[in-house]
């Protein structure tokens, strides 16, 4: 197989942590509208985006996820009041660490998708999955020295 072919055949593995109240609902809406969404994403439901801590994201990344999506309610809409504000700060720290280490921070994405935004959900997931496709596999997957 040539490198190019390989590239073409690459189906990324993306893990999406979706907040139960907004983004998970948006995913349902997208589903019931039968929008086509990239199978690259595997959804993991959490109650709130603030539940997602650094270690969970790092583990996911070092376990070889090609992309990680954290998605929750828009700021101000958190079902629990202010969880997503904290989530946003934690995300910013991790993003900065990845940036500082040149670990392709674009593999980590935070998105706000509300329950009525089924289309946006599809767009976000598909765009992210395209972006990751273009980026190629998480380099850790080719390495036996980690």
């Amino acid at each position: 197989m040539t490198e190019k072919q390989q590239e073409r055949e690459f189906t990324p593995k993306i893990v999406g942590f979706l907040c139960n109240w907004c983004t998970y609902a948006a995913a349902d809406l997208a589903g019931s509208t039968k929008l086509e969404i990239s199978p690259a994403l595997t959804v993991i439901r959490v109650m709130c985006s603030s539940r997602v801590d650094h270690n969970l994201l790092l583990t996911t990344f070092f376990e070889g996820a090609d992309g990680i999506l954290v998605a929750g309610c828009h700021p101000g809409d958190c079902h629990y009041g202010k969880g997503n504000y904290y989530a946003r700060r934690r995300y910013a720290v991790l993003k900065k660490v990845m940036e500082g280490l040149g670990l392709e921070p674009e593999r980590l994405q935070l998105s706000w998708v509300s329950a009525s935004e089924g289309n946006r959900y599809a767009d976000v997931v598909n765009a992210f999955s395209e972006k990751i496709k273009a980026l190629g596999p998480n380099p850790i997957n080719g390495r036996s020295d980690f």
Partner: protein
């Protein structure tokens, strides 16, 4: 701000010993926490004492920093504040760590008087224990010249910009002062009250000293940004990261020596972080192999995410590393990066809340940029 000029008979160390003795004798303080040389004369340890006579053996300006002072303070005050007023003689980075720990409720500073000084750096621990007598000599000559010799101190000391006045109660100015004199500067109400109780009047002009300090600071800032940029460049990507930590043996000494890593048990040593045997084997099969000691890079990056916001660049991690990984340089680099994101500086001010304990609805610019970036890209795609 004004200070009191102190003339010493017995070198700078003598100035501090004298001051501490007086503080105990005048009952302005109940105890002091200072480094004292170990009986084998091969290191220093933190000693809490109320006995003025014992201070003769104290090395308040220890050449090396075996245990970060904030950790000593933590062991003393983690469970709360007593009534005894304790003067702790600590380097600026130790004071800053103590301030961070105070925010994290691991240190209680109410009855602690932090006495700090212009720091000329610390000799790397392994250098010191390898050659204690020589290190003492070298340090003393640096102290006399009041000038840092970069080859003799830890790399982070050479690029330290917070070597002088920090959030202490009393500061001892040394840099740029002639002869054996030192400037005692009250730096908080508590500190001022102590000096007053000891009958020390602070009426000396300190602008000369301040000028010398800011001069050095400017010099250091320049050096620091260059050095950190270099570190950053060496780290890039999985290759860089792997190279940096290739020799890591997974002992986690860096974490346990770190004053900021206050967890009882590091998450990465915990049961939760352990992967089950089958999962490890699966990963090995998928990648062709995995490397042990396991999760080394994950540990270091995880620690960056967890504590770089509070990192004070004291260099203890490098001191504790048995395989000479420049952990401190790396963390210092990361600390500058993450702290700038939140317009935060670790240990700058006890009143400044920890970034992850608060939020703003309209985020500070850099956080906003990070999050905004992702949002805009999506919209553009639509």
């Amino acid at each position: 701000m004004q200070g009191a000029s102190l003339k010493a008979v017995d070198g700078i160390k003598g100035v501090i010993r004298d001051f501490l003795r007086k503080a105990l004798e005048s009952e302005a303080a109940d105890a002091v926490l200072v480094p004292v040389r170990t009986p084998a004369k091969d290191s220093y340890a933190w000693i809490l004492t109320n006995d003025p006579a014992l201070l003769d053996e104290a090395g308040p300006l220890a050449p090396t920093m075996p245990v970060q002072g904030a950790k000593a303070l933590k062991s003393l005050t983690r469970k709360g504040q007593g009534t005894a007023r304790v003067i702790a003689v600590m380097r600026p980075c130790e004071v800053r760590a103590a301030v961070e720990l105070s925010k994290l409720n691991q240190v209680h500073l109410d009855n602690i008087i932090l006495l700090s000084y212009d720091c000329i750096g610390a000799v790397p621990l392994q250098d010191y224990v390898g050659e204690p007598a020589g290190s003492e000599e070298r340090f003393d000559s640096m102290l006399e010249a009041r000038k840092t010799e970069e080859s003799a101190v830890k790399p982070v000391c050479g690029i330290c910009v917070d070597f002088s006045l920090v959030d202490s109660d009393i500061h001892l100015g040394l840099i740029g002062l002639a002869g054996e004199s030192a400037l005692l500067i009250p730096n908080s109400e508590k500190g001022g009250a102590l000096l007053e109780a000891m009958g020390i009047a602070c009426e000396e002009d300190i602008s000369g000293w301040m000028q010398a300090v800011s001069g050095l600071k400017a010099e250091r800032e320049d050096k620091r940004s260059k050095a950190l940029a270099e570190t950053g460049a060496s780290l890039q990507g999985f290759d860089g990261l792997h190279a940096a930590f290739a020799d890591c043996v997974g002992c986690h000494n860096c974490q346990s020596a770190c004053p900021i890593c206050y967890c009882r048990q590091c998450y990465f040593d915990s049961e939760v972080a352990r992967r089950d045997p089958a999962a490890l084997l699966d990963t090995a099969i998928a990648r062709g192999g995995i490397a042990f000691p396991g999760d080394r890079v994950m540990f270091h990056t995880g620690r960056m995410a967890h504590m770089s916001l509070s990192c004070v660049s004291c260099g203890q991690c490098s001191d504790a590393c048995p395989v000479s990984i420049p952990v401190a340089d790396i963390f210092s680099y990361m600390a500058d990066l993450t702290q700038a994101t939140f317009e935060y500086a670790a240990g700058r001010d006890d009143g400044e809340p920890l970034p992850l304990r608060q939020y703003r609805e309209d985020e500070v610019e850099k956080v906003h940029e990070i999050v905004k970036g992702a949002e805009e890209e999506e919209v553009a795609h639509e």
